[in-house]
Symmetry: D2
Subunit: 271 residues, 4 copies
């Protein structure tokens, strides 16, 4: 199977990058399944039904989120109606929506997606490792599901790498989100799981993690409440990870970074 | 000028990667100046005189550090004798050693190096932006110095990017360290400063930020005091950033990632 | 019933304060049940079998802990043999020992004790509110148990107060530990639960939270690795909370602070 | 001299407690100087000119703040016109207002007040110990000033205690704010400085640090954006510290907690 994961979409530059490049990627890479982390898609803060539908129309199968999941309050009710929108699985019992789900591709293959949030330097939540273990116990790769993708939305590189090794041999891909910067460490772990510490944001890279740089720099320097943060307005770069899996084992055969448009050096997967 | 910056060296795999690749890089890229972040070079924790001298012999001009600067106590006295070893500039007044210094290349060019530590999710220190501003006021790029390199040792991508824009047009290179993962966002900022959010570690990438993965994963999962963390033992990858500067302005003409050996996809700069 | 809870015992000054005052308090206040938080009893770091036995001999029924539970490694095995020693209930499944237990007083009354750790500004753990709710569902106050005590070991006053209100009407006492400073806010919450944000340490108050002040101040000021922290050596103050409960409902009839010896203003409960 | 320091005023219950009790205290205790921490006086968030003037009319000489200083934007300009309103001294250079000032009592005595913010578990700022040292170098107790008061607005008890010992013998009073809970550790430190880890809030104690308890508890339990936090509406307790100083040395002769009204056990200083 051919999987594409795209990192945190930040505001209009991020959505424009998705619109500009995703349909072509879907066609050229013959993608079977596309996941987008959309937690910053709505003006930098949260996600809406309208944006989810835009992403589905462009070729996304699933939208994951993170600590910004509820920045737009409509997501709290919308998520209960849309199984393709996920929020971190380790939110408390009773949280609207789901953190993991098994989807079916057009070709009838089953794909598990788990969205989970790290805890180091983040809001206190329940154990993401237990949360993932629970889902993997229910959905065995190469058994009930033909592919499995873990979006580990976390601050610390150590926690993301630990999740990679924790899942190695049990899922197709562990990919980090939240840092808004693509990492250059795509690799197949020894057990056959594809791994990249962060997918990188889809957004304007002449910015501070996607937001207007002047305002963001001023906050660090002056320590005063300033203007409201808003997304940059330069051309966005699409950032993500492309994985080819073995249809029998569900493990990864290759993993390659994807970067298109905007300011970063382009990276185009080869089949 | 041709500058090479190499990220956090972690234990023996990191030191071996430096030994295996730095002399060749120095020759092939005709490097004028080499900086290595060595805060984890001594068994993963700190730095020693012996290791500094090893680095100098292999071609390093300066060794920077970070939150692990003092893990080996000898560094507290050694640093007062070696102007090539830096610690973060925003430690309190009275801290041994220096956080910034102007060095002279073999060709007689002057290079300012500033080592500074971020504060988001890190130990409380004085303002890194003020610390950098102070050094830049004393050493003007294209005036008193022909190149200037800022090692921003920080956890949060936002703080590193903010430092990049804060310095844009005033230094040759702002490069992050501490996350132990190379980022794929090398770029020339609009003002002419080369930037990469993290240089990445020189170390074993089948690990958790360079440390043996079993022990590190267990800490996240079990929350118990376990075995002592120690560096991984696989072949290390050398990770860093290569920058060519304009001799008159001191600004960057190009910036390219460097990755050699070990598990990550190689990246070799082209002249 | 008459309950006494004593806060974090720090080193020898703390243990000496327990030895000097607990037997008299037990007799004079006709105590039915005594809980001591002992996480810093062994030289400031952790607890041992020997110290637990010392506390039991002096009149303690239960010893609770916190983030320092495992500083002495012997506690990892010892706790599996001693049901009177508790560690936070919200450690991951598989952690040695228990976080909650029902004890029987000499008069045959049943007392639930729950030890739980907060998460704000602390190590990431599972939800302490869920952990407490689980124990309270199993052991109903005025039903299966005649008293219930929650030791909420937490940094933030907000999290401790929230735990107080969360438990109000369902337990006899919610008392905080970990800050090592007694608070002056003992009160009966509207639902009948006794509450105090922090019991305060049993230790030397001419110190920094029980540890030698010179070393501790130097760490804040100089940001260098310094001498090892060790407990102060002045006369310790015993600090805690005394609660009288209604035998039928298990709710509190009164709550009074206890402070004896050392440097703080004394507070002696009146019957 | 007779000094009164009152802790964080939270919303209307806090302001009402000040109005109800401060004039009587001023008269009965023959107060020479009154400081109020007002950072939460305006609906729980920040301070306004109107509220400052209300406090002055009721007998306050100085209003200090903390991390909530700028929650009401008018404070950013108002503070530049009112030397009696302080913000933390360790905000960056260029921050509006001042963090320390010498005031004159009606009897012509000079009192230094320093407002400073801790860093442990708080927003990154410059070193509060250096900031205090700088002010104390300029204003020597028993020399240029007859009294000196340090408001250390901090989360961690360790940092507050360290500040106490750091200043011991050099100021009249070191008192903590920010935790919104009064501590029961008022003492004269060995060098003659009065100390209390936290003054406690002036506000409704049937709450979570002054805010409506239902909303605040729900945030901890449900981890969802909920209703806006707003102050509780029960009768407020006035909380603070009363200090008598030696007119020659400026050091403290006695320190006593003050608690009046609302739910906490009353504490009235005796002369
Ligand atoms: Fe994001
Ligand atoms: Fe995020
Ligand atoms: Fe490092
Ligand atoms: Fe580091
Ligand atoms: Fe403790
Ligand atoms: Fe603790
Ligand atoms: Fe406050
Ligand atoms: Fe505050």
């Amino acid at each position: 199977m051919r999987l594409l994961f795209l990192g945190d979409v930040v505001g209009r530059p991020g959505r424009d990058a998705i619109a500009a490049h995703l349909p072509g990627l879907k066609r050229d890479l013959k993608l079977d399944f596309v996941v987008i982390n959309g937690e910053n898609a709505a003006g930098g803060f949260g996600i809406t039904q309208k944006i989810c539908e835009e992403f589905y129309a462009l070729g996304a199968d699933v939208v994951t989120t993170g600590n910004h999941a509820w920045d737009q309050r409509e997501a709290l009710s919308y998520i209960t109606t849309d199984p393709r929108l996920l929020r971190p699985a380790n939110y408390p019992p009773g949280t609207p929506g789901k953190g993991a789900h098994v989807y079916q591709t057009q070709a009838g293959k089953k794909v598990l997606v788990v969205n989970v949030m790290g805890r180091l330097f983040m809001d206190p939540l329940d154990d993401p490792f237990q949360a993932v273990a629970r889902e993997l116990a229910r959905n065995v790769l190469g058994g009930g599901v033909q592919a499995a993708i873990i979006d580990v939305h976390a601050e610390a590189t150590s926690e993301k790498m630990a999740m990679g090794h924790f899942c190695d041999g049990r899922v197709s891909l562990v990919v980090g989100t939240h840092s808004h910067v693509p990492t250059a460490d795509a690799q197949l772990l020894p057990g056959g799981t594809a791994y990249q510490t962060d997918a990188g944001m889809c957004g304007d890279y002449d910015s501070v993690i996607g937001m207007k740089k002047e305002t963001a720099v001023a906050r660090f320097v002056r320590k005063l409440p300033g203007e409201r943060l808003e997304p940059g307005s330069g051309e966005g770069t699409l950032c993500g990870v492309f994985v080819e899996t073995d249809d029998r084992s569900g493990l990864a055969k290759s993993v390659q970074p994807v970067r298109m448009g905007g300011r970063l050096a382009p990276a185009l997967p080869v089949l």
